[in-house]
Symmetry: C2
Subunit: 369 residues, 2 copies
């Protein structure tokens, strides 16, 4: 049941925290004062009590089933976002101060990820797209792997520059580590090609305050005993994500999102097709705008999540974002570091939102072209 | 507006996550699909957008005003709970591997807090209540401070053993660090006696997934440049808690809680009086039960938040918790490490809940005494 205020919902193109499925919001609203059969809010119940246990297990089970996570991987529900992972990953996986980790620097987020490695070992930037403003991704053969590297890290989708790997890069013998913060649950993933996948939830998988880590069990042995409790993946795995009070509400929402993907959408193949179609609508419009709109990323690496583009001038970019906002389409301004415009069209952005934006873009080009 | 399911709310004595004020839950329910004037849920809006900014500022401002935080202290909204603070505190405040931190071990939580110090320096247990099962607190003169200690850490309230400091211990020249996870916002605090106060929010101050840190500004200099981004208080202070995506929903709820204390309750002095009266109801009943109920903590250090007691037998403890649950009073079983019974009566536990429990206790004693 939706209250009157729901009538005024807009199309929210925020890059994250981002739009959620309306049916999920409705269920949260229905249950927020009293979880059915519990007599308390999800916000009020003990993480160790009988009411929360099935919620945690359902979220974990749904993640495993939606993402097809093999049995030899643990699923951890943590806090601290990707920024804490930037420290936890080298802390856990580099086992000596002389060890080296390889990073693909393909945009602002992977660059940031690479910067905390130095506290735990050596950083090797195995590819750097900075010289051409992160508009492309490495080709096979361009990646300079370190022999016996602790791991290779890549960011599957860069929200600011709008580039996305179509498939995981080759890490040789080293475990492959992926930051999937902005495209987890948006398409099928071959988890078995990875040693560790992490994602903060607030783009495709829920709300801010939850970080999901999928880690191959043998990698848990690398940290044993060397790290403070919260920093140690093996302690979280041993405690089944209850080494401390987990972010209970955020886990509950992530369970609802996974259920929405499985039961309402029909799984990740279908989700992927919908996402491709949404993105194609906008990219086709950009490509057929006679140069009025210009996409940032090269066509072959374009993101299905973040469509990054610009008009012929900064002034028109600003007018575009302002007029779109007045028309009920918010947060289309590009990231402050890159300028221009950006439409984030994660899983929960309805097709109707993309169609409304496309119509607006056509009209704006006609009026200002 | 409350839906029908709200009719079935129970009295929830959980030690945390714990009961929230019903008016706060109602406001969340009203706004969860659409924040007034925004057109999106609080769960969906960018942490850097114009809708969230006033929410963050309001929460910070309310905290400062309710807790009377002096101007030379920063208020940080972090993630990872007290367990991450157990590492961040020594990491930031001990400036050399030869430095020592003093800890008062007064129950399960302060013991846990002390255990991660070894990764960053030396631990000195300045007082240990373990030998008498944590039923009392140190007297003046019993605390063995280290000269030039990096800080003295204490836990103002121990939820498992039900002991609470009436006032902060004396730390000599060292900064005093307090874990107030279970009694922040329950009573006035002299912040200026502390170098650092931290609290996870899910007992008195909101929901799981938010840790509030109040830190004296000069202490921020101790970490400069030495730590990975998320571990470094100075980086969070510099970024005004936006070094990464903060837990937006949890911050919003904490703002609502602070507003409830200021505007509905009338401030911390009144909150304290209400909490004292609630606790006194139960302790008086225990003391006048002719030994049927036995409190764990010595009377002079009893907690206003967690009333820990037992009946004459484990069998009766179990029957008590089961029958209370059937009567609409949940989670009265004691912590698994101590057994017995525990009534957590944080800020949001209504007086009616305590009265219902007192009536139940009287009847239970009469029937089984």
């Amino acid at each position: 049941m939706i209250t009157a205020s729901a009538q005024t919902r807009i199309f929210n193109f925020s890059s994250g925290p981002a739009v959620l499925p309306e049916s999920v919001l409705e269920q949260i609203q229905d249950e927020i004062v009293c979880l059915p059969g519990v007599g308390s809010s999800i916000l009020e119940i003990s993480h160790r009590g009988s009411a929360f246990k099935p919620i945690l297990e359902d979220a974990r089970h749904r993640y495993r089933s939606v993402l097809k996570v093999p049995d030899d991987y643990e699923i951890l529900f943590l806090q601290g976002g990707a920024i804490l992972q930037n420290a936890m990953i080298p802390a856990n996986l580099i086992t000596s101060p002389h060890g080296t980790a390889d990073y693909l620097v393909t945009g602002a987020w992977s660059k940031k990820s690479s910067q905390d490695v130095r506290f735990y070992g050596n950083l090797n930037v195995a590819w750097d797209g900075g010289s051409h403003n992160f508009d492309r991704l490495p080709q096979t053969g361009e990646i300079g792997l370190t022999p016996n590297a602790a791991y290779l890290h890549y960011t599957s989708n860069e929200t600011i520059h709008g580039v996305q790997f179509a498939s995981p890069p080759d890490s040789g013998d080293a475990p492959l580590v992926a930051d999937m913060s902005s495209d987890i649950l948006s398409r099928p993933v071959d988890v078995s090609r990875h040693g560790l996948i992490y994602a903060c939830a607030q783009k495709n998988a829920g709300v801010a305050g939850l970080t999901v880590v999928v880690i191959r069990r043998d990698l848990l042995e690398r940290s044993a005993g060397r790290l403070p409790t919260y920093m140690d993946y093996s302690k979280h795995a041993e405690a089944e994500s209850m080494a401390n009070t987990p972010p209970t509400f955020a886990i509950y929402v992530s369970g609802l999102i996974s259920r929405w993907i499985e039961d309402e959408i029909g799984g990740l193949e279908k989700m992927d097709r919908i996402n491709h179609d949404k993105a194609a609508t906008l990219y086709k419009l950009i490509d057929s705008s006679d140069g009025f709109y210009c996409g940032h990323a090269r066509p072959e690496v374009r993101s299905m999540m973040n469509v990054v583009f610009r008009t012929p001038s900064e002034e028109l970019d600003k007018r575009f974002a302002d007029e779109a906002n007045d028309a009920g389409m918010s947060t289309l301004k590009g990231h402050r570091s890159l300028g221009g415009l950006r439409a984030s069209i994660y899983n929960a952005m309805p097709v109707a939102g993309v169609e409304a934006l496309a119509q607006f873009m056509n009209e704006f080009a006609r009026k200002n072209g």
